[in-house]
Every structure is written in structure tokens, then in C-alpha cells.
Symmetry: D2
Subunit: 345 residues, 4 copies
């Protein structure tokens, strides 16, 4: 089979360069073009010296759509539509790692991102896809909206409970913690080393832009409008997200029953590992891999379930899941090129 020609727009952002790394070892895909506004003309290995002698592609700032079978866009919100249009016109597939193709509701998009959907038709031909939950929604659409990092960890952590209508209305509290790569490559006071080393705090308390995406997924799963309280925190480490998810259960249950529900739901999913009852999910066990580890807990003195869901924000939360979606689009095995083993340390 001829390898899939991959183009990355926004290749020097953190998700972009992670895509470069993962595509470079994908057995069925190859890098065809890398685009960057800021570093046009430089080699990507000059910007990221870890890639020296491995990927020395020159960064372009031209139209790379026609050189590719698929385009990954990894851009600030509001910039993906124009590339989507080009891709659709050229018959090139596209996966957007940004926020522009995640929300069904144009109003919600405007409310949270302050911009408009300019081309409504484009959004109708796009599908949001966490493969474990939505792969059946993929029916050849040209565009996939790749899920956000927090929403991926949360949707996977709540899906079995939502589908089982187990959660008490309005009882879901999500306390998430993310490594600093989640904030991206741009310099900022809160990611200056002495400011976030030996520091810890939440940010955008109950006001993070991933909230509508989380609620959209959960509402669809449960068939009813779900509101959640979502509070992200910045962890002093590079990679990984832990979402600790709390909800009250509608009917009397016990830990074993809850755990069995999760085990059964994910029994055939390679990338979701439901830990044994009594074990606790730790982000160190999924770092640098496409796994999502989930541990299930039950506080019987308050009748509240606690689910711990952890992913690598740059892999399952961004580039890895995007490749999983690419594999889905091209009819490859979903794990193709994604068999990274999380290191022990």
C-alpha cells in the first residue's frame, strides 16, 4: 500500500511537533509537508533539536494541501475553517486538533470563543470523534474535529456511567489536573519556570472553554442535558492529565458493580485500561502512550462514585488520538503506529 501523505499546519506548536514525532514512525503514513508561519524557511530540527538527523524537513508557509492525502491542523481557534474549505474542495481529508470543529452549536462556539462559524456547511460535514465512543459516527466525513485533552479524559471516564443513566442530575464535579505542555509553546507568566515549579493552583475555575465540549459529549451519551462543574489545575510536570470525577449514583450500587460496568464497557478497547478494584490510576503509567487508564472507586458513606481517568495530554489528548482518527478515516487498524509503550519512568 502506498503510504498516506501527511501534512501538518501549525507544525511547530506542541501538538504539531508531537504529530511529527508520531507520524515519523507510522508504518502506513509519511510526512509530506510541514507548515509554520513563524519559522518559514527553517528546518523543523532547528526549532526542535531533538529531531536533528531524524526529521530535517523545511517548514513552508505555502499551500500544502495539494501535496497531501490528509491535513492535520493545529492552530489557535478561528483559523481552521479556511484550511478545511481548501481540503474539502481538494478532496483531501482533514483532522483539526483545535477547537473549531468540536462544538455542534454555533451559538456555544460564539459564546465561548468569541468567533462565528463562517461556513456552516463545513461543520455539517465534520464529525467529532473519540474513537472508543464515536467511531460509529464516522461515515466518511471529510473532516474530523479531534477532541480536546480534558474532554477526552473526562468522556472516557464517564461514558459507562452516562450510558447507564447512573449519575444523579447535576451532581457531576470534575477536578482535572494537567501538565504544563497543555498550555502550549507560547511564553506566559504562569508557565515561566520559577512561577509554576513548586507551585499549584486551579485556573479558569468553572469557566474553561472545554466545558461546553464536555457537556455536549456527556449530554449525547446520556440523552439528557448534562451540566458539570469543571475546574482545571496546572500541575508542575510536563505531560499528562488526571481527571478526578465525582458523581452521585441514582440507584443503590456497590463498588464491584460499578467496576464491572466499566470493565465490561471497555473490554474490547485496547487503549482504555480499567484498573483492578483497589488500584489507582496514575499518569506516570500512561505517559508517552495512547493509553487511558481508569480506576473506579466508590464512597459508600456518601453514595458517591469517584472515577480517576488519566491520559497523556499530548498523545491520547492530542496527536495520538488524531492519528487514531486518521487510521479510522483510512480504514487502518486503529492502533496502527500507536503502539508506544509507556515507560516506567
Amino acid at each position: 500500500m502506498k503510504k498516506i501523505k501527511v501534512g501538518i499546519i501549525g507544525a511547530t506548536g506542541y501538538a504539531g511537533v508531537e504529530l511529527v514525532r508520531l507520524i515519523a514512525t507510522h508504518p502506513q503514513a509519511e510526512l509530506a509537508a510541514l507548515s509554520s508561519v513563524s519559522y518559514e524557511g527553517k528546518k523543523i530540527s532547528e526549532v526542535y533539536p531533538n529531531l536533528k538527523n531524524i526529521c530535517d524537513y523545511e517548514l513552508e508557509n505555502e499551500d500544502i494541501v495539494n501535496k497531501c492525502d490528509i491535513i492535520f491542523t493545529s492552530l489557535p481557534h478561528g483559523l481552521s475553517e479556511k484550511f478545511a474549505k481548501k481540503c474539502v474542495e481538494a478532496g483531501v481529508k482533514m483532522i483539526d486538533l483545535g477547537a473549531d470543529f468540536r462544538l455542534d452549536s454555533a451559538d456555544e462556539y460564539t459564546r465561548w470563543y468569541g468567533k462565528q462559524y463562517e461556513e456552516k456547511a463545513l461543520h455539517d460535514s465534520a464529525v467529532y470523534c473519540i474513537p472508543e465512543l464515536h467511531r460509529n459516527n464516522y461515515k466518511g466525513q471529510p473532516i474530523i474535529g479531534n477532541p480536546g485533552c480534558y474532554p477526552t479524559s473526562i468522556a472516557l471516564g464517564l461514558a459507562p456511567a452516562m450510558l447507564d443513566s447512573l449519575t444523579v442530575d447535576n451532581s457531576i464535579v470534575i477536578d482535572s489536573k494537567s501538565g504544563v505542555t497543555g498550555a502550549g509553546r507560547g511564553l506566559a507568566d504562569n508557565t515561566h519556570y520559577p512561577n509554576c515549579n513548586e507551585a499549584f493552583a486551579p485556573y479558569k475555575v468553572a469557566a474553561h472553554r472545554h466545558t461546553p465540549e464536555i457537556e455536549q459529549t456527556l449530554s449525547k451519551l446520556s440523552g439528557t442535558k448534562i451540566n458539570v462543574t469543571f475546574v482545571p489545575h496546572l500541575l508542575p510536570l510536563n505531560r499528562g492529565i488526571v481527571s478526578t470525577i465525582y458523581f452521585n449514583v441514582k440507584r443503590k450500587t456497590i463498588a464491584q458493580e460499578l467496576h464491572a460496568l466499566y470493565e465490561q464497557f471497555y473490554a474490547k478497547e485496547k487503549f482504555v485500561r480499567v484498573l483492578k478494584l483497589g488500584e489507582v490510576a496514575n499518569l506516570r503509567n500512561v505517559k508517552y502512550s495512547n493509553y487511558c487508564d481508569i480506576s473506579v472507586h466508590y464512597d459508600d458513606h456518601t453514595d458517591r462514585a469517584v472515577i480517576v481517568s488519566t491520559i497523556d495530554n499530548m498523545v491520547k489528548g492530542a496527536a495520538g488520538q488524531a492519528i487514531q482518527n486518521m487510521n479510522l478515516m483510512f480504514g487502518l487498524d486503529e492502533d496502527c503506529g500507536l503502539n508506544f509503550i509507556p515507560p516506567a519512568f
Copy 2:
């Protein structure tokens, strides 16, 4: 005034050596004796070389009660009663930094710690004291049970709401995160550097021994039995606790009202700083100090309050609060010797 003669039993544990550091600069107190089973005969500065030339006291393993006006015990649970007895008999005050004098209920103590209160009378003559909340309970008792680190951050974060009966029954969720010094000096797999660096996870999910202490305090404040879901996490940093506390509110409120309640409640408290609405508490701002910073947030789309409370687990969460309690016992200003300014980094 003659300085208070201070003895520390368990001086080489983390809380113990932090007490040494703080007492060494206290204007009204002085170290009289340090006790350690493991390092008898060594200088404390041989065990902790940071103290070289500053505090070179020899560690004893004898009865130090009679040399002192007050004894701080910082020991594994179950070991403090015998020292308490000696202190009471000798007319020496005692502050226990361990768990043995925190719980009113002997049954709860047995349930969570697997041991008995051997001397019930001792516990009747002890008082549990977070000074900001309980200083009026101190009426000359010989023993103070110094609060735990998590419970301190949580009680201070919830007190205004509890006293105002604002919380919906059974809606309190507490997601706490602690630096590794909270696990103490003992070697363990989960505190081996490569295991907790670049790692993050909860532990003892809904099963931590601080739960009954938290519930005891909240129940007393609210006048009704309070159950909470409490999940602690281990943060990859040395010092500090952040508790993110969620609860539904009983009556319609708005962020401003909630914030005003907190500001008013702590208006005269030096060591509790209620941040302005919109600011977020960060443990970096309280490290190495006795401050508790609290930020107040309100998620109006779920009618849920979010309180962020942060302390230095070794200071306000242990040694600093113990000294605040010592000051209370001896009629000194509560902040005497505790005016440490948190460094910017």
C-alpha cells in the same frame, strides 16, 4: 519575660525538624531538649545538615518532660498518650502534632487507626484547636490536639459556609493535593524520586484517615452531621496543600455574596487571606509561611460553590499552627514568632 522552654519528641521527623527551625527564631521560646529514638546521641545537625552551626543540639532518648514548659509530640499514632500522661502529671503543657488527640469519638479513633484510647481522661482534658475557629474553646486545657494538614486547609475553606448553613446536605466534595513532605521522612516506593517526579495520582480514595477529623469539625460548625467525599492526591513538589472544595448552595446566591461572607468572616484574621473575587489561590504564595489563602468561586450554571484553600502543610498545616497554639496557651500574641513572609519563589 523568661523564655518558654520547649521540648520536641520526635524531633527528627519532618514536622519535628520544622518545629526546630521555627522555635529557633521565636522571640519568646527556646529549645530545651530534643528527643529521637532513631538518632539518640547524634546532633540534630548531623541528621539535618541545614542546621549546622545553627542548632547543634544533641538528640536524647530520655525523659525530657521535666526540662520543659511545653512538649510538642510529633509521633506515629498511638504513641502520644504516654507522653501526655507524663506532661499532665508534671504540669507541663503539651501539643500533639499526631492524630491521637484530634478525634472526640474513641470509636472513630479505633475505626480509623486500629488502636484504643487507653486513658479516656486524658482526652477529656485535651482540646482540638484551629485557632481561627476554636480559640474560644481553649480554656486552659493542658493538651492541645494540633489539627491535621488536610483538615486545616479544609476547615478554614468551609467554615464561613458551614456556619451560615449554606451547604446542601451531602453535596460536599473535597479534592485535595499535597506536596510530598506530607508523606513524611520514611522511605517508601511512592516517595522514591523517579516514582513521584513527573507523576500524579490520588491515593486512599475516599478512605483517608483525615476524613473523620474533617467531618467532626464541619459537623460541629454546622450543628448537623456532615459527610464529605474526600480524595487526597500526591503532588510532585515539596511543600503545600491545595484543597479544591465543591458544594451546592442551599439558597440562591451570587459570587459576590459568597465572597463577602468569606471576607467578613476572616476580616480580623491575620493568617487567613481571602483573595479578591476573580483571583485564584496558589500554594506558591503561602509556602514557608503560616498563611492560608482562600479564593471563592461560584459556578452559576450548576449553582455550586468552589472554594480553593491553600496552606503550607509543614507550617500552617503542622509546626506553624502548633506554635500558634503554643502562643495561645501562653497568652502570647498568636502571631508571635510566626511572621514568616512567603517568598515569591
Copy 3:
């Protein structure tokens, strides 16, 4: 081709579990047996949950030699000879990641390790091998002594200069810094998180056991007895070694000439990347990979060269180089199974 059957003795140590991870994706090798004294009967994924569903092999404590084509031993010094004997007798190849087959001189071994070479003949049939420097020394010997982590970074950093007889006698100073995984899995005070986080110091100053190995390699390269001052330091991070190497030059030179010497020497070596003049080697660019990055500097106001050499201590410094040696033994391309791309973060 039938895959090489690999056995690992000491599989639950840090180098052992890293071998497991790397062998698990090697296209020409497969795990045949894992041995561990401490965890016999457990699955390796119970000890290292990152391996759950990926490698769930049970740990044995029996003779695994006969199940394998090659045995990797990763053991404390003094324990490898008995396995070497078994391997040689059974016609099974062996690579020792410990210290027992690195030193030619039995006296030096005794002096530094306090033990004897019991079976001298075994050592005669072993070869020490950093492939880039010693691959021609491999002539079918049954045993390879895999180099230590510090010595690998240092030998690669000094080889071009030594071969060119450029260094002034007795002028070599090596200041190395290693991440904490270098200290291994065992619990110790100096690797307890609060003791090594936000801390930094040298250890075993001019007295580290890697010194004779370093000097042996350098002496052979230069054809004269070389003594070095070697001071290792413990870095507060998980992985990686940086060796900053200083030496005076024998003849007048300039930075460009020195740099050209290095570039030429390593021109055909995939795993050694000589950076451009003006660039500085950083361990972040080689983490999780088999690369050694070297930058060349020259202080012309003291006529002293400064070479910065960095590797991942667990990959090129241990498991990766061991696999490179396995590939050499089995006539595979040296980079087979080792094409890990260092991540950008």
C-alpha cells in the same frame, strides 16, 4: 527469520524493566523469560503497572538460560559470573549490564568493588563494547560487558581527542550530572523525593566506581595511561546524563578545527550527533532515545577544550546500548529496534 529469544535476569530493576520495554517492540527479538528474585510469581505488570496489557509475563526465579538465545543480566556487582558460566556452557549469548565484565584488570575490579573475579577464563571470553568505539573488537565472544552510563557519555565525548593525542597529560576533568534513575530502584535517603527535589550536589567526589572503567577506555584509545578527575552529581530529574568534559590541548588549535575533528570522527555514526559549532548539547534532546549528542567548545583564553556529551542513562547508557550490542552479536543492523525519536518534551 526466527525471532531472538531474550531472557532478562534482574528484570524488575530499572535497567531490566527498560530492557523489557525496548525488547517488546524490537522487530527481531521477543521476550522469552523474565527472572526476578524479589517478585517471583508476580506478573511484571503488577510491579510496573505501565506494562498492563502490554507485557504481563510472570516473573520466574528459575534457570531461564535454556529458554533463551541471549540473556541480559542486570544485577548488583558480583552476581553475574554464575549466570555467565551457565550461558557459556549452554551456548547462550550474554550481555551483562552490571559491572562484572567491564574491567580488564582483576585487581582494579577488586580494588573498586571489593570482590574477586572467580572465573578468570570467563573474563577472557568477554568483550567490553561501546559499539561506536569497539565494534571491531567483537569477534564472536559469548559475553559482552555492557558499558556503564557515565563511561559511555564520557568515552564518546573524548574518543576523537584521545585518538588524536590532543589532550595534555593529566589535564582531563569530567564533571558529570545524572538523573535519579541512575541510582536505581532501591529506596535510599538521597533519592527520597523531598531530599533530592530542589536539591543538587555531587556525590562520591573523585571516588566513583566508574572511574577505572573511564580510564581503561581512555587509556586504550590514547595508547597511554590516562588518569582523570571524575565527579558525578545527582540532578533533580528522572533521566539523562550530561558530562561536561574539560581538557587542555597539546597543540595550538581553534574551535573550528576541534569541531571538524569530532564531526569527521562521527560522520557515519547514526547514534552520535555532533552539534553545530555554537550549539550546546542538552539532555532534553536525547531523552527516551539511543542518541548521544555532543557539542564542542573551546576556551581560547585558557587553551582548554570543553566537550558536552549527553545521553539517556537508561537507553544509550544501559538498555539501548545493550540492545545495540545484541544486534551486533546477532549480525543485525545496529539500530534495529532502536529508532526511538526523542520527544520534544
Copy 4:
């Protein structure tokens, strides 16, 4: 005694805010005015929330010289002269924490900093002062050039050997490592958290601006022109410098003799602690304090001494030493307000 009125120009830089913290508890000094160009009109506690309720001074951008008895300037190089002139004219003392009053040679200043000494007379009335080495040089000069962080650690680490003419010419190699606060408050790629966490590298190899300051001090101590190779590295931690210093010795010596030389030299110095032979200096033992810990080692197989010298770069390396110099200027005990005990963690 009336308290010394202190003004800080550049109060929101890292050295500036550290000065604020230290002066705020100084028993004989008080903050009179804080100046900042970037944050004029804001309270310093809005910029550094750790200072909330402790120091809420408003930042000015006016002439604060006349309000003060002493001015600390903490500014990028080239900006201090104009304030020095004002201070001298107004009879106000000044301590410059920047680089403008450290070098005797105007040529060297121009060579390394690319600027001119505009007012030569000002420099004649300034004195460079590490109190332990130069206090006798202070004879009432109006301006003190406060030493750089690296040079302080190095000069203290080498002074006994230099005065004793023990070092072989041109044999001094200095490998220093600094925490990230040393790079200051400004945002930069190399201090973006994901770029320096789990990373390590030297920078400005043999080309750092502190080199002429180091050589100036050592040359004066030894009475002969000293050149050194100086290579700084960036450590992934907030505070502290470790300088590992290597030199060949001129005459046959032994470790004990070398150690005795150091012990004797610093016998009366409170802030320099020479560790026992066999101990190793670690920056964790001096953090947040004005101490310099020095350990002495000797590599007898190369006849090379190794000195490890560690300070907190923000205290003894900047604000603390500046206050020590202020105390000297005002005839106070040198340790006045500087008795901070380094915490154990």
C-alpha cells in the same frame, strides 16, 4: 536608633522582590519607597501576591532617592550610573546589585557588556565587596558594587587556596550550576517550563559575563593574573548555585591539610560553613539563607583539589549579600536581619 530608610529601584525584578522580603523583617531598616518602570501605580502585592497584606506598597516611577538613606538598584546593566550619580549628589548610599560597579577595568566592562563607563569618577568612589573577603576595603565609599551570584560562590570557594598560592597556573576549571531564578523574571524560551523541566545543559560555555568578575577577584587574591575556564549550567530547580571547582595544587598536599586551610580561613565567618572532611555540600542546605556551604575534596591520583561551594543565588548571591553590605555601610552587625535558617526541605 531610627530605622534605615530603604529604597529599591527595580523592585519587581527577582532580586528586587527578594530584597523587599528581606528588608521587611530587618530590625534596623524599613522600606521607604519602591520603584518600577513596568508596574508604576500598582501595589507590589498585586504583582507578587505572596506579599498581600504584608507589603502593599505602591510602586512609583519617580525619583525616590530623596526619601531614602540607601538605594538598592537592581537593574539591567547600563542603567545604574544615573541613579548612582543622584545618590552621591544627595549623600544617599547606594548598593548596585547589577553589573555596573563590579569591574575595575572600564575596558573589560565595555568588552563584556558592550557599554561605556560614562562617569569614571563614580566608579572610583565605588567598592566591590564580598564582605568575608573585602570588608576591609570598605572605607566609607558611597557606592558598593554587589557581587554576582556565580562569582560569590566561586570567590568564597577559592579564596583560601588563592591566598595560599596553592593553585597551579591556568589549572582552574569551574563548573557551576544555577537554579532558574538566576535567569530572572523575564520570559524566555529557555525558561519556559516544559523547556527546562526534565532538561539540563550548560549555556554561554566559556563566555559568560561573570568571567571577568571572577578573574578580577581571584587575581587580586593571588597577586597574579588568573584565567579560569568557567561554564555555567541551568538546573531544573528554583534557587541555588553549586560551583564545583577544580584546580591542580602547586605543592604536594593531602586532603586533611587542604581542609584545615579552609576551616581556619573561615573559622570566624558566620555565613561560610566549611563542612567536615568527607561531607559534600548540597544546595538544599543553604536555600533561603545567607549561608555558603563549602566542602573540600582531594583527588590524590591526579593531585587535583575539588571544592564544592553552594549558596542561595537570591540571598547570598544577591539580596542577602546586599543587605550584609548595607549592614557594613551603616556599622551594624553584618548578620543583622539575615538570620534566616535554611529549611530542611
